[in-house]
Symmetry: C2
Amino acid sequence: MVDFIGTERVQELVARRGTARFIKELAAEIESDYLRWSAFDKSPRHATHSSVGVIELMPACDGRLYAFKYVNGHPKNTAVGLLTVTAFGVLADVQTGYPLLLSELTLTTALRTAATSALAATRMARAGSRVMALIGNGAQSEFQTIAFHHMLGIREVRLYDTDARATDKLERNLARLRLPGLKVARCASTAAAVEGADIITTVTADKCNATILTPDMIAPGVHLNAVGGDCPGKTELHREILLRADARVVVEFEPQSRVEGEIQQLDADFPVTELAAVLTGERPVRTSERDVTIFDSVGFALEDFSSLRYLLRIHHEERGAQQQIDLVPDLDDPKDLFALLVPQPASVVARPGVPA
Amino acid sequence: MVDFIGTERVQELVARRGTARFIKELAAEIESDYLRWSAFDKSPRHATHSSVGVIELMPACDGRLYAFKYVNGHPKNTAVGLLTVTAFGVLADVQTGYPLLLSELTLTTALRTAATSALAATRMARAGSRVMALIGNGAQSEFQTIAFHHMLGIREVRLYDTDARATDKLERNLARLRLPGLKVARCASTAAAVEGADIITTVTADKCNATILTPDMIAPGVHLNAVGGDCPGKTELHREILLRADARVVVEFEPQSRVEGEIQQLDADFPVTELAAVLTGERPVRTSERDVTIFDSVGFALEDFSSLRYLLRIHHEERGAQQQIDLVPDLDDPKDLFALLVPQPASVVARPGVPA
């Protein structure tokens, strides 16, 4: 039997843990894996593109555990009442190849993306950052707000989305959350939202080369958390922002980000720093209060690996519905797979009958 | 909700359908997909190797449906009571990216491998083939026997395995099956088993360059169904067998088979024919009663794609336990993912409570 965490169970786990604690623990789990970056078998994700979206498989392995995530991206789904992004994944034991856990990863991906964004910002943003602009107020925006509020001490979020209903929804959810000491300001434009911000988070969804931010909007010292541009042909930043002399660009896994990140707009030799080297302290990126730091995030399989291991741990720690599924056969004699299909002598454990 | 077919449900489906009918229908489903070979987005599988085994992801897509299989190969597992190969897979809708079915594929892989072997043999073996040698009597051997008995009219199987207990197990299971008119003969060696056989099926498991068959064992006109050699460093045939002037070698997907099949022993320009071209009749391989035909099978993702679609269909047709799992969230507003985690107004459908 394989442990199963469905949508309801992950809701229950987040509820029992508390959202802020869940994100902080998840960020610590992700950091612990980035700190042993060289232990991982890394490969760019396998993507299958169609005219309406993409389906991806993202494997990662540390020699002891293996994980993969299935994730889709279909921007037009919302028009028919479906999510743009859904995901699930599996954690398996490298020693036997057996799956250990199947889990939903739709909610979890939003949580781990926010945890990773905030984790990167703790090492990249100016100390004392208090104001964050949040451009794109869709499915991920609440998660980003919670992570930055709890992990960086953000005290003001400045909201903007081209769709006013998205901002309505975000305001409503934040009001219900009542994050202590957090001011929520609705802005009339991206330019108005980023004015005076210490951190700018872009998390827009259109699958196109958009220009959400232009160079004139970027004040010295700001940290850009660029989350929305994450596949070929999907970017958010004007390339001049990346090319600024004082810009320091951090990516998760360089070979993947060259294809999928904001840096797909630049030459292949444009200098970037991998997040792992920033977290270990090997390559600090911010050298002054006036540097512009950019986390060109696309999401990497290691973050899902960490998430699945974290989920399995708290699934066993927290009470509630601990479902299992019979995804793999359990045999008396592992060389006798066919025993599952033939009538057995009476001494053998009962199973569904099979006609002669 | 996503349809779920576990081990018990697949046992039930095979029981309700009958093993022979299941394999024949599955072979027809696989053939129908090979007949539209060019419609598929094909890629070699993604393999993660360790010192004890391999974990693979095998995606396939026809533009309408997407499927992938997770499969491991761990030869030493049986020593600790576990299966060498376990597998599961997912069928998804390309239009939305949503998963439709999660299914066990351990039993199903054995069924689809046998179905594919027999399907290939119907176009490659001599007409009137009645005797099959079966070298390797492990987990897959019963499935191969049933498929060749029902789809090719095999009337005698000649068994050999280096492990006598494997042959004991196969004999016992075949006796329980009582396949009408099938003679089962136990042989003292591979050479004795293949003597006079029309078809030789090799389905051994050791992860090494073995030489199960040598050139002197191969009589003119025989068909070789070489199933066991299926990853780098794992082969069964002496290379001279492949190089014989009258040998006609068929593979599933050439780029994958060059790395994983028996032909990994040969130069990259050694001529092979893809199964799809044999099935469409575009490139018939057997030109005389004396040709030696070789199906160098490694298993291709298309076969799992066909299997998942077939399983989903009969899962809806056959009564019994039709389980579903909450692998993907169902939201009132697809842009409001966070609604799953915040307390909602009373008008909204009940879900697990979340603390403020």
